[in-house]
């Protein structure tokens, strides 16, 4: 079966520094996959390579079997590649609903519509609102994003990504900087993501990773150290050494 996303020999160098080294990676359709690794392992770089924010030095990226290596960022999004950012990257001066509606409109191909087709705009708003209801932030739909607490802003990040109706969703540390009480809500949202979306989560929070992921890839210094089920990863001595620490429990 064609994987939802695949990288073949993905390589990225900044001068003498190699930040992605011959990465072969498969994200199966409907996968719940986590990418972990210590700080500076190249996780966000990997996401930036996949999404087209950074051009690779070598290698190929396939989305649903189609080579997207040469495509610009926007074209990849239109083909179904969505992402969230490690640090909130929102439209802070706009309402929550408008934030999501921008994404929905672009996905629906009406983002450049100058004539304001009444039905199309309403449909985009209603789709966005339904999304907010699903993420339980519909009560804040009319509020400006900058007025929201950080945890809710993280949810808006996810709502925008879902507004793009992605087939592949890359979540870059979705619970980063969120207090424990609010991160439970985020985890709940992530667990209830539609099963037809292949999800790759980059996360430091091991509890979240082991609860969510059915497969885990460990990245160390830009290279894949190991890939396997959570049990295999937790049992691997090298992983314990480089990342999890001796005291970790499976």
């Amino acid at each position: 079966m064609t994987p939802a996303l695949e990288t073949i020999g993905l390589h990225k160098r900044f001068g003498a520094l190699t930040v992605a080294n011959d990465i072969h990676f498969r994200l199966e359709a409907g996968a719940r996959h986590a990418l972990i690794g210590p700080n500076g392992a190249g996780k966000t770089t990997f996401v930036n390579l996949i999404t087209g924010r950074l051009p690779p030095s070598a290698g190929r990226i396939l989305l649903g079997g189609e080579d997207i290596t040469a495509l610009p960022q926007a074209a990849r999004v239109r083909r179904g590649l969505g992402r969230t950012f490690q640090i909130n990257t929102l439209f802070r001066g706009l309402s929550v609903l408008e934030n999501v509606c921008l994404a929905v409109s672009e996905r629906a191909g009406i983002g450049g519509d100058m004539l304001w087709r009444f039905g199309a705009r309403r449909a985009a708003l209603e789709y966005g609102y339904a999304l907010l209801e699903r993420l339980r932030i519909a009560d804040d739909a009319a509020r400006l994003v900058k007025e929201l607490p950080y945890g809710k802003q993280r949810l808006v990040e996810i709502a925008i990504a879902l507004g793009l109706q992605p087939s592949v969703l890359l979540l870059d540390e979705p619970a980063a900087g969120v207090p424990a009480a609010e991160s439970a809500i985020i985890l709940d949202v992530i667990e209830r993501l539609p099963s037809d979306i292949a999800v790759l989560i980059i996360e430091h929070d091991m509890e979240l990773v082991f609860r969510f992921a059915r497969r885990i890839t460990v990245l160390v210094q830009g290279s894949v150290l190991i890939e396997g089920t959570p049990a295999e990863i937790a049992a691997d001595a090298r992983v314990r050494e480089v990342y999890l620490g001796e005291g970790h429990h499976a």
């Binding site: 999404t51 924010r53 960022q73 926007a74 074209a75 990849r76 999004v77 239109r78 992402r83 950012f85 990257t89 929102l90 439209f91 802070r92 001066g93 706009l94 309402s95 609903l97 408008e98 509606c101 921008l102 994404a103 409109s105 672009e106 996905r107 009406i110 983002g111 450049g112 519509d113 100058m114 004539l115 304001w116 009444f118 199309a120 705009r121 309403r122 985009a124 708003l125 209603e126 609102y129 519909a138 739909a141 009319a142 925008i160 507004g163 793009l164």
Partner: protein, 318 residues
């Protein structure tokens, strides 16, 4: 009301939006002696409106918008002087000329941002001003373009000495362009411009063709500025090099800041108050009137960020 309905209704015409037009029509009947100033105000509103589209909505910082105003003025003036004095086709020619210059220059300069972009917008104006100066065989150079005779509108409404026709002509054109601009800023395209202003990187990340959108609004804005320039050329029947000056770019920016940027109506409030203040201050204090304008601007920027409309919003607690 659900937020979806509120968002849709927020774009519908509200009664308060008719106020500028009622004032403009009232001005026609009540201030018959000031119709020439009135026409100038309407032209400046249109010019400021065009600037608001790029600066207020799309966040493109420019100090060179007079390039398009001037291009429109010269296009309309040259068209009237050498081809025909028919005014409406003159407006069209001016809009197309300014749009073409906007598209070509935007294609090059919108690759940059910040200070580099600011400098390039100035450079485009300087290039056009020098071109207009050197091409004196067609533009009249420093002496200005003479022989701009404008035919009656629709062959019926002759431009009169009191400026009545000119005023109504400017008002009608402003009304139509306002309708267009209003629809534009409330459209998905307009909202995406606000998205680009707020966070261009995220717009890229949601698949928006950011540069194409910016180029489109820059071209549209240039066309509107060109129409404003054409109105000036047609109603004054003269085009001088000052239409392409830096001062005009600066003044229009001040007018917009006066009124409030990114609000559509900031252009109406700012241009009207600036032009009236200029007129009155120049009468009261012919030597130092610019000082008072400067002082007003300092006070507004310090105490009323968001311009006069921003101040009103704050006073009303919105």
């Amino acid at each position: 009301m659900s937020p979806v309905d509120a968002s849709i209704r927020g774009h519908r015409l509200r009664a308060i939006e008719l106020l500028p037009w009622l004032i403009a029509i009232g001005g026609y009947f009540g201030f018959g002696d000031y119709l020439t100033l009135g026409s100038q105000i309407l032209i400046m509103i249109l010019f400021a409106l065009s600037l608001d589209l790029v600066l207020g909505y799309a966040g493109i910082v420019t100090l060179g918008h007079s390039a398009f105003f001037g291009a429109g003025a010269y296009a309309a003036g040259i068209y009237a002087a050498y081809v025909t004095g028919e005014p409406l086709s003159g407006l069209l020619i001016a809009a197309l000329t300014a749009a073409l210059i906007g598209w070509i220059s935007g294609f090059v300069i919108l690759r940059t941002q910040g200070l580099a972009l600011l400098m390039l917008t100035l450079a485009v104006t300087a290039l056009l001003a020098e071109a207009a100066n050197k091409a004196s065989f067609i533009t009249g150079g420093a002496d200005g373009l003479q022989g701009v005779d404008i035919d009656p509108i629709f062959g019926v409404f002759r431009f009169d000495l009191f400026g009545r026709t000119a005023y109504l002509y400017c008002l009608a054109v402003l009304f139509l362009t306002w309708l267009f601009a209003r629809r534009l800023v409330h459209s998905s395209f307009g909202r995406s411009l606000v998205g680009i202003r707020e966070n261009a990187a995220r717009m890229h990340a949601i698949g928006s063709p950011v540069r194409r959108r910016l180029l489109t609004v820059y071209t549209i804005s240039a066309a509107l500025a060109g129409i404003a320039g054409a109105l000036l050329a047609q109603t004054t029947q003269f085009v001088g090099l000052t239409v392409l000056g830096f001062q005009r770019s600066g003044e229009i920016l001040i007018m917009l800041v006066f009124g409030g940027i990114g609000r559509l109506y900031g252009a109406f409030v700012g241009a009207s108050l600036y032009m009236i203040a200029q007129d009155q201050l120049a009468k009261m204090d012919p030597e130092f009137w610019y000082f008072w304008i400067g002082l007003l601007l300092v006070l507004l920027v310090m105490f009323a960020r968001g311009g006069i409309l921003g101040l009103i919003d704050r006073l009303l607690g919105r």
